[in-house]
């Protein structure tokens, strides 16, 4: 009862604030104060409700008695309410001064409030229509936020890219919703999930319904979370105001991970959809991270970094580690919001200090330090690089949750943890330093602290989101593949990664690039051109769009515009 009456106000307050600003406070600076005050109260309410849940374990549904407007206050909603309102409050406070000289100051705060309210409804929707309405509205409000500065045609163009990709992603969600209503005769999510549990093998067009809708939901999540090849909008949204970029990269783009978690009871019976998500997520993580390295614009670079992180998040869902994806999106949200909001300072610093690495001759002659980098013996470095992450990751997981250690999803995550850790140690080894042992030990100590902290937090966070451990295990099982194929895949990937490191190491020491000569350079430039044009994905979309519009124009001329 208390949860219900208070819960309505969490999404309600920002919406009321937006309406008050739109109707009465346009053109005044009071709008910002009202907006920040509303968000502060929203955050306090959201945190209070989360604490209440932690104390009592009560889950509530606020039933609107209609098809639209019911809210589900389960652990996922409550955690995301606290996260979204927290990020939004930070963005609001930052915007108070940042946007003060921009036209449409009050409108901007009204739209920010509206966006926050809509996201809060989306993450707590208890039925399909409410979810669909909020999902749809996020795209619409984001369009107007990104296009806030209407004097700049580029802002409008990239806001349009975002809007059209979001609209594309809305279609599979509509389709999934209509199929679920058609097959399970309800729009209520808890009712649908209960009926899926009773009849998981119901079929439509020769396919199990959970599998079919799982594919649709995954596609909707891909568009919202900028998965390859539906990613082109994300890096270009930097033409919008910086606070909007922060809110988008910290919150809105994570909607894909939320969707997977909301429909977790369905994905327990949709193994192939999860495998697909793993493949798409992996490809996106690789492409996003690769393209990030090519950028010379800090905001664009952060955009591709988000794409890579979203790839990891979807990949985690594909492995069945659903709560880890939520933990990832929250951690990434705070981290990316701080990076975006601090981007201006970084640009300012770069103007003062160019950041060019020191010249070895200058270092040697003027600073009287050894020009040749001091490094550990390569056998020691290789041993540390390969073995330490395996030992640390395995032990920390073994002590926290031994039974999960045998699930394929956990093994793959450990594998990625190993690759990432080894990469960090390898990079540390390549750095020139006066005291290589001290550097390596420092990195190792940080690594151990991060791994143990991450393992403990993610484990207990998983228990919070999925109190029924059977559900977590079902998700891991759904994401599993045949044992032999899995072992072969892991061995192949391990060989690829170790081979890659060896190639990088020897390419430098043996100067392999010079041996290949002009042909090698040509291949290198070809790949560079391909990547710098972002694999021509945006160009292909643009050309296809032009062809459709040309066809439309011909039809109109033929039918005399009637």
């Amino acid at each position: 009862m208390v949860m219900g009456s208070l819960g309505v106000w969490v999404p309600g307050l920002p919406v009321v604030s937006a309406l008050v600003i739109f109707c009465f406070l346009r053109g005044t600076r009071l709008a910002a104060r009202i907006s920040v005050a509303a968000l502060t109260i929203t955050l306090i309410l959201a945190v209070a409700l989360l604490i209440r849940y932690l104390a009592t374990g009560d889950v509530a549904i606020i039933d609107s008695q209609g098809v639209f407007g019911s809210l589900w206050l389960d652990p996922l909603s409550l955690v995301l309410w606290a996260f979204v309102s927290g990020i939004s409050l930070i963005v609001h406070i930052y915007s108070v001064r940042y946007m003060v000289e921009e036209p449409g100051y009050a409108r901007f705060f009204a739209l920010l409030d509206l966006m926050t309210g809509v996201i809060l409804v989306m993450v707590s929707a208890a039925n399909l229509v409410t979810l669909l309405v909020a999902w749809f509205l996020v795209g619409v409000v984001l369009y107007f936020l990104l296009g806030h500065d209407h004097r700049r045609p580029a802002a409008g163009r990239y806001a349009f890219w975002t809007q059209i990709t979001y609209r594309f992603g809305d279609l599979p969600l509509w389709f999934a919703a209509l199929i679920l209503v058609h097959c399970y005769h309800s729009t209520s999510l808890p009712v649908i999930f209960a009926r899926i549990e009773e009849a998981p093998h119901m079929r439509l067009w020769g396919m199990p319904v959970p599998e079919l809708t799982g594919f649709m939901l995954a596609l909707a999540a891909f568009a919202r979370s900028a998965q390859f090849p539906l990613h082109t909008w994300l890096p270009y949204t930097m033409d919008g105001p910086t606070p909007v970029s922060a809110l988008m990269h910290a919150g809105i783009v994570n909607a894909g991970g939320f969707l997977f978690n909301r429909f977790a009871p369905l994905f327990e019976h949709a193994g192939w959809a999860l495998h697909w998500a793993f493949g798409v997520g992996l490809m996106t993580a690789l492409i996003g991270s690769g393209l990030m390295l090519l950028q010379n614009d800090i905001k664009r670079s952060l955009g591709y970094s988000t794409m890579g992180q979203m790839g990891f998040m979807v990949m985690e869902c594909g492995l069945g580690a659903f709560p880890l994806a939520v933990f990832h999106l929250i951690a990434h949200g705070f981290f990316k919001a701080s990076l975006f909001l601090g981007a201006g300072d970084v640009i300012g610093d770069a103007r003062a200090h160019d950041g060019v690495p020191p010249d070895p001759i200058y270092t040697s002659v003027v600073e009287r330090r050894p020009a040749k980098p001091s490094r550990l013996p390569w056998v020691v470095a290789a041993g540390l690089t390969v073995l330490v992450p395996v030992v640390v990751l395995s032990l920390s997981h073994f002590f926290v949750a031994e039974h999960l250690f045998y699930e394929q999803g956990v093994v793959v995550l450990l594998f990625f943890g190993w690759v990432t850790g080894a990469q960090a140690l390898f990079a540390a080894h390549k750095m020139s330093h006066q005291d290589p042992w001290r550097l390596m030990l420092g990195i190792l100590a940080s690594f151990v602290v991060v791994v143990i902290g991450y393992t403990l937090i993610s484990h207990y966070f998983g228990r919070l989101l999925y109190p029924d451990e059977h559900e977590s295990l079902m998700l891991y099982r759904a994401a599993s593949i045949h044992r032999l194929s899995f072992d072969a895949l892991v061995m192949l990937l391990a060989a690829v990664f170790v081979g890659g490191w060896a190639l990088t190491f020897f390419a430098e020491s043996l100067e392999l690039g010079a041996q290949f000569g002009g042909r090698g350079r040509g291949i290198y430039l070809g790949i560079y051109a391909l990547l710098s044009r972002e694999l021509y994905v945006a160009d292909i979309y643009e050309r296809l769009g032009q062809l459709v519009v040309q066809g439309s124009r011909r039809l109109n001329v033929w039918l005399r515009w009637c």
Partner: protein, 255 residues
């Protein structure tokens, strides 16, 4: 008798190729307000005619499927055509014809008359507002070709805000009535038809996005022009508030 009712109904609740005549008829009306009134009244008249012929369930499946095919093709054709329209009046009429074709879908699956009336109203009301504003724009700027002057929002903020609301409502944006009506309509349609209907939502969104590009962004390059009055803007706002209330509080009994 029956056939003439069918033909008139397909003219007033436009279905291709009779939609061509409907479109022409509306376009030839002299003022924006007259056009707005026409798109509100004629579809309701068409639905009354549908009321006079036997319900869809009395017809053989072949006829019902034929109507569904025609409605789907008509809606998709007009949605595609709206992509290249930059004249506000033409754009509105094309999207309206596309949206009103969904009424036939509702009819073919046996939706009650009240639902059909609300479906027609869901598209007719924002179209009427858009056509009314188009008339004003033509009088003040000399034309409603949105790419002509660019950045209209800078000089006519009230007019642009009203147009944006009308366009959003016309392109099934929640929480306007057309969204809920479409949900209700599609909910009754066999699942196999959905892959043909869902692209409509994408095409309408695309068409709206292209229109906004020209309407909202860039610098205004025309002569100074007066915006619509505050009272007009409030009245238009009240129309949308009423339609929002209709959607949210029970969607007029349709949901």
């Amino acid at each position: 008798m029956d056939l003439s009712f069918w033909i008139l109904a397909a003219l007033f609740v436009p279905l291709f190729p009779l939609s061509w005549i409907f479109n022409r008829l509306v376009a030839t009306l002299p003022a924006g307000s007259a056009q707005g009134l026409a798109v509100l009244v004629l579809p309701q008249l068409g639905i009354e005619l549908l009321h006079l012929i036997p319900p869809a369930l009395f017809y053989p499946a072949l006829v019902r499927h034929g109507v569904m095919v025609m409605a789907t093709a008509s809606a998709l054709l007009y949605a595609v055509r709206a992509l290249s329209a930059r004249e506000l009046g033409v754009w509105t009429r094309l999207v309206l014809c596309s949206g009103l074709a969904t009424v036939w879908l509702g009819w073919s699956v046996g939706a009650p008359m009240a639902v059909l009336r609300l479906m027609a109203l869901g598209w007719g009301l924002p179209a009427a507002v858009a056509l009314y504003l188009t008339g004003i724009l033509v009088r003040r700027v000399g034309g409603a070709y949105v790419g002509l002057h660019g950045g209209l929002v800078a000089v006519m903020p009230r007019m642009t805000a009203s147009l944006v609301l009308a366009v959003l409502a016309l392109t099934v944006t929640p929480v306007f009535p057309a969204f809920f009506m479409l949900w209700k309509g599609l909910g009754s349609v066999p699942v196999a038809w959905m892959p043909f209907w869902l692209p409509l939502i994408f095409l309408w969104g695309w068409a709206a996005g292209r229109l906004f590009q020209d309407l909202l962004f860039g610098d205004y390059r025309g002569e100074p022009v007066a915006d619509i009055g505050g009272v007009s803007a409030v009245l238009i706002g009240l129309v949308f508030v009423a339609s929002l209330a209709l959607s949210l509080v029970g969607s007029g009994g349709a949901l």
